[in-house]
Amino acid sequence: MEHVKLLIVGAGAAGLSAALSAWDAGCRDILLADRSAIPGGVLPQCIHRGFGLTAFGEELSGPEYTERLLAALAGTGVRLSLGTEVLSVSHDKAAVLSRRGCVSRVRFERLILASGCREKSIGALPVAGTRPAGIFTAGQAQEMINLRHQNPGREVLILGSGDLGMIMARRFSLEGKHVIAVLEQGETYGGMARNYHRCMEAYHIPLCCRMTVREIHGQGRISGVTAEHLDSGEREYIACDTLVTALGLIPERALVRELDASPWLSLAGNCCRVHDIVDSAASQAQRVGHEAGASLS
């Protein structure tokens, strides 16, 4: 069985940062595994600027931020294994990894889980109606547009005004689509003020607060929703051909769900808690990486 001192699950901003710090702290045996074929986690599909102001003193795009981390990683002996799913982690400090042509078991001394978040799906809400095509999570829509150059739709309604929802509102506008509105159940937008000004105001996209979606209409493709004004209880039909849901992020800890807190296990980045800003995810991951690396050097 293969043996590594430090196994890191996830090569997003957090996993990459943790690996770099662990290396600097003296750990020379690090395996960094990510299911995706490209490193960086959510960063490669975030082609907008707004990353790295604290860490690098300039505003970078997601792909540029990833490049910086990868350039630093190239100078280390950290082994990066892409296209590699970590299937399970057990109490006896072993993990099962799976990639094309190879399923293997790896023993480790320390594990850093840097598996990020998943998006909450519409199925989690008590929204009635049909389940037609044309409903995407914000991350899905972002991947389609930015990485695959596919068109998710034209008349777009966005549910949820976190940073992802607002950034996608702007993205659709830039693509020449009509963003009907961003609906938000809270009193005001959920994300950062900076994103509200840059992504919503600047593009004249209406933000409808205290509103939510109650029912979805449409047979093949979505044709509209019934939305509710939460304060008055009034309802209105909003026609759309695309619904993008930005309902929030859930830390992805499926791998360690059945493990009790163990001294050999640490969480880094968004799987520890949701970080709005990549620099804060990265700096938390650096601390975790440094501590683990120092203990293994």
Partner: protein
């Protein structure tokens, strides 16, 4: 023109089983399905329970068939390599009316020959299901009740039918019927077909198909039901099927721990509709009932809701029909109309029944080469580490994970496509992709790309669930 001995109309559970059972005879058989895939109708949206048989009046065909079908279910699922969980069921009473219902069902069940039925007191029930709400009086425990994935069972029957020589014709809707001395002429949207005999299993449209040739004899009054699905990792899941029998005279909630590990809750029954849209009231009712029955159940684990449509058969004068409605309007023409619960449980028995009746009329010989065995698509995630390592080494695609929630590999997805999946949902029905907590947000894109590659079609033509549900916007709506 194509000629067959028998044509089965409708590729739902019943049609697939009718075709499979017919293929035990030396006959040329066609299975005609209007849509792009089998099991997209009632057979994919129901409660998934394999009933023990205490619900029906002693002496009826339904009672007799259900008990027989239930007893044979392990063997059937073994032949067809479909997971079946005989988890047992508890019918729950919290008051005097329900107590009486339970006693009545026990009596029925005993008369029907349902094995192992027992009326349990509250203490025993809480030991079996500690999460149940306080106030329980009794439960009717039925150890033979179980659950199966309905569409996987139907797809397996279809694969086995094809393996035994049945010709599957998809995208083939029967639009007109004619009868002459030779037999029947079926006009479909893909040309005409001649056949000596017909089995009509067109589900919600079965009465309509029969009326293409015969005067109306049965009416269908559709009702709908709303369901919720909770993720397999939800806290507070019960381990038995629970059937709540309320004090009010309404249908109570059914809770099913599915073979996949998720939890199915429902249905909220509503009237007169053919609409597959869920209702707010229905979803609210299911949530409310669930938290009343299982206070510790974490409803935040909800991942999906769906609606089902139930075809209720009635006489033309409005009297409802309680027995299975098996019609025989003319020689060599059989219809299964308005087959609702327990149609899943009895799918094989019903298929056998009409196949046997038709074989007699056709004087068909036995097909000695009939092979009852079908093999499922090998699943990586059920294997031991060593088996999985060997499999991935032998077949690289078994190492590549496509759906990370449900741990489904590229090899499984490709095999699903090879076996007939042609939509994102078709892959889902065969190998379970997108059934987990992210509901396909992370794998849909990859599956669409694999479909496009394997079926040599542009990705813009890949649909979620058949025509009109293209994933990529094409401006058509």
């Amino acid at each position: 023109m194509e000629r067959f001995d028998a044509a089965v109309i409708g590729g739902g559970l019943l049609g697939c089983f009718a075709a499979r059972e017919l293929s035990r005879r030396k006959l040329d058989i066609a299975l005609l399905e209007a849509r792009e895939d089998v099991c997209t109708g009632i057979s994919r949206a129901n409660t998934a329970v394999v009933y023990p048989g205490y619900d029906h009046e002693p002496g009826t065909l339904k009672a007799e068939m259900t008990v027989r079908a239930n007893a044979a279910f392990d063997r059937l699922c073994k032949e067809l390599d479909v997971p079946f969980s005989r988890c047992g069921s508890l019918m729950l009473s919290f008051g005097p009316r329900a107590d009486a219902v339970l006693r009545n069902k026990l009596q029925n069940g005993e008369a029907n020959g349902v094995p192992g039925l027992r009326l349990l007191d509250a203490e025993r029930v809480y030991a079996m299901e500690p999460g149940l709400a306080p106030g329980l009086r009794h439960a009717l425990f039925s150890p033979t009740a179980g659950t199966v994935n309905p569409w996987q069972l139907g797809i397996a029957a279809c694969e086995n039918a094809v393996h035994n020589g049945v010709q599957l014709r998809l995208n083939t809707k029967v639009e007109a019927l004619h009868r002459d001395a030779e037999g029947y002429l079926l006009e479909t949207d893909r040309g005409s077909i001649r056949t000596r005999a017909v089995i009509n299993c067109a589900g919600l449209a079965a009465h309509w198909v029969q009326e293409l040739l015969f005067p109306p004899s049965v009416r269908i009054v559709p009702t709908a039901g709303d369901y919720l699905v909770l993720d397999k990792n939800s806290v507070g899941k019960p381990t038995h099927i629970l059937e709540y029998e309320p004090e009010e005279k309404v249908k109570g909630l059914t809770v099913v721990p599915t073979v996949e590990g998720s939890l199915l809750l429902g249905p909220f029954e509503r009237d007169n509709t053919l609409d597959y849209a869920t209702t707010e009231g229905g979803l609210f009712w299911v949530r409310e009932q669930a938290s009343r029955l299982l206070p510790g159940l974490d409803l935040d684990g909800t991942i999906r809701s769906f609606a089902a449509v139930r075809p209720n058969p009635e006489q033309m004068d409005g009297r409802s029909i309680h027995s299975f409605c098996i019609e025989h309007p003319a020689e060599r023409f059989w219809s299964l109309i308005g087959i609702k619960t327990p149609g899943l449980t009895c799918a094989r028995e019903l298929g056998q029944y009409v196949a046997a009746a038709l074989a007699r009329e056709l004087h068909a010989e036995e097909n000695k080469a009939f092979d009852p065995i079908r093999r499922a698509i090998p699943k990586a995630h059920v294997l031991s580490f060593d088996e999985r390592r060997k499999l991935a080494a032998a077949e690289a695609d078994y190492g590549e994970i496509i759906c990370c929630c449900e741990d489904v590999t590229r090899a499984e997805v490709l095999e699903a496509i090879r076996r007939g999946a042609c939509t994102v949902d078709g892959v889902k029905r065969r190998v379970g992709t997108g059934m987990g907590c992210c509901q396909g947000a992370r794998c849909e894109q990859k599956i669409a790309a694999l479909l496009s590659e394997a079926l040599r079609m542009p990705e813009s033509a890949v649909t979620k669930d058949g025509k009109g549900t293209e994933r990529i916007y094409n401006g058509a709506c």
